[in-house]
Symmetry: C2
Amino acid sequence: MGQRRIAIAGYGNLGRGVAAAVGQNADMTLHAVFTRRDPSTIDPPTPQTPVLPWDELLDHRDEVDVLVLCGGSKDDLPQQGPELAAHFTTVDSFDTHARIPEYVAAVDAAARAGGNTSIVAVGWDPGMFSLNRLLGEALLPEGGTYTFWGPGLSQGHSDALRRVPGVAAGVQYTVPSPAAIDAVRSGSRPELTTREKHTRECYVVLEDGADAAEVERAVVTMPHYFADYDTTVTVISAEELAREHADMPHGGFVIRSGTTGGGHDQVVEYRLQLGSNPEFTASVLVAYARAAARLNERGETGALTVLDVAPSLLSPKPVDQLRAELL
Amino acid sequence: MGQRRIAIAGYGNLGRGVAAAVGQNADMTLHAVFTRRDPSTIDPPTPQTPVLPWDELLDHRDEVDVLVLCGGSKDDLPQQGPELAAHFTTVDSFDTHARIPEYVAAVDAAARAGGNTSIVAVGWDPGMFSLNRLLGEALLPEGGTYTFWGPGLSQGHSDALRRVPGVAAGVQYTVPSPAAIDAVRSGSRPELTTREKHTRECYVVLEDGADAAEVERAVVTMPHYFADYDTTVTVISAEELAREHADMPHGGFVIRSGTTGGGHDQVVEYRLQLGSNPEFTASVLVAYARAAARLNERGETGALTVLDVAPSLLSPKPVDQLRAELL
């Protein structure tokens, strides 16, 4: 079989990660990057990769096996996901948890109508964490599931931080409480409050003339984002922000603590320690792109999530080899 | 839909675990336990569960949705697996890693001929660990996979220990090296020798007149089992053995350490901390029994492994509910 042809729709951090991930998979080739910006302003991921304007996407329908949608969940994907699923087999990392059912339904209708396959909400949460929450409760029906996030940079909370008057720039790290994790790992199945599970660490660069104490008060009392947490605010320089806080590490834990029928405690833990959140998400997208292509080749059309995909479809290796090597 | 009817073939530690696990799943009922021993000598798992002689198995073909095979991998399953797959949809925990491909082939032929579905080599290793090895290399193609076992009681090594002259009884614990695990978690991708990864702790009860030093020497120099490890031998009384070493805890780690295309390190860890190895294995078997029944209802016959099964098939919840709750 020839290489599968991957294209990228939307070229920010995630799109760059997808381009890099395709380069690590010998059974795939990067056909093109599509952007809504002026293509001439964009550095292509490799000298051979065309960067093309968005409105040429449909001209490439027959040359693309899987289109990886790298837009944002708030404004881009709710429109692009269904629209493009009508024409391409797609994968995306739609991550507005509460709206996933309606998003799946919209993409499913479009993909079926177009004879395409879409795997949506792919990444680590939703994604690998969802898969592990499912495995946890299916394997240990009597028990509790705990998700911790971090230590890592949260985009949503960093955005909220930057909206505070007096803040010129800043980042927010979500830090899981070691004491809470230890309690869960022990199998004691504690009831944990929001405040007990995570702390939030903010690093801010102040605008000229801003009052540090006033900024701190505004941050730590902000409802929804910070008020329910023990939050620290550290003022730093723009230079330190650029030097020390440019990476996007993240990660977290899904822990299932259960008791089997004979009364024994069992603890299952899945943990991610990610040097780069967008690069890892991109790698997951690319593995599911392989699965989407295979499912489409089998005639399985419509929208699926990671919960519906047999693991062997993610690997470039034939099933016989996987059985011999991994079982 | 009514409850799925589960039967158990072979009633040792694993079979008892399966009976207990069925009791935790409201969509299943335990039809019967089949044994090669005299059924009148066996305590049934519940007062309502018939314990029946092995040679009546085929009479129950139409009343059993899934037969869970609980025999041993060395002598029982190589024969029973294919034989019973001809007549029943089955799951089993065949765990002789090197012989899994031929076992899959034998069960596959029988299951297809009988219109049945068999999921084989189910448990945690092979099983959940295999699944995580696959996910690790599919998501992070450039990297290394590390499996550590324990801390836990190893049946195979305990059996070897008990064959040493002078040993009346004993157990062996496999203990992963904390230093090795830390090195792998750091992302440094060390090359580890067998001796660096695990230690082995033996607790033995001596036969009357046996020489402790001689027993220790025989254990620590035993090829394949102990000679390649740092092994300790502790002599204890029969009372202490019964009091302190009756449980069968186990567990371990699968860690994938990789680098994504942009050069960032990523570490994924799956960890099991099992109060009872047979009860956890049994719980995994029962979840895959649900999947086997569903696959058979869809007409997907033949032998599969955990690598081939979509995760959502393991849960009693409908897919829409899983998406809303877990994604």
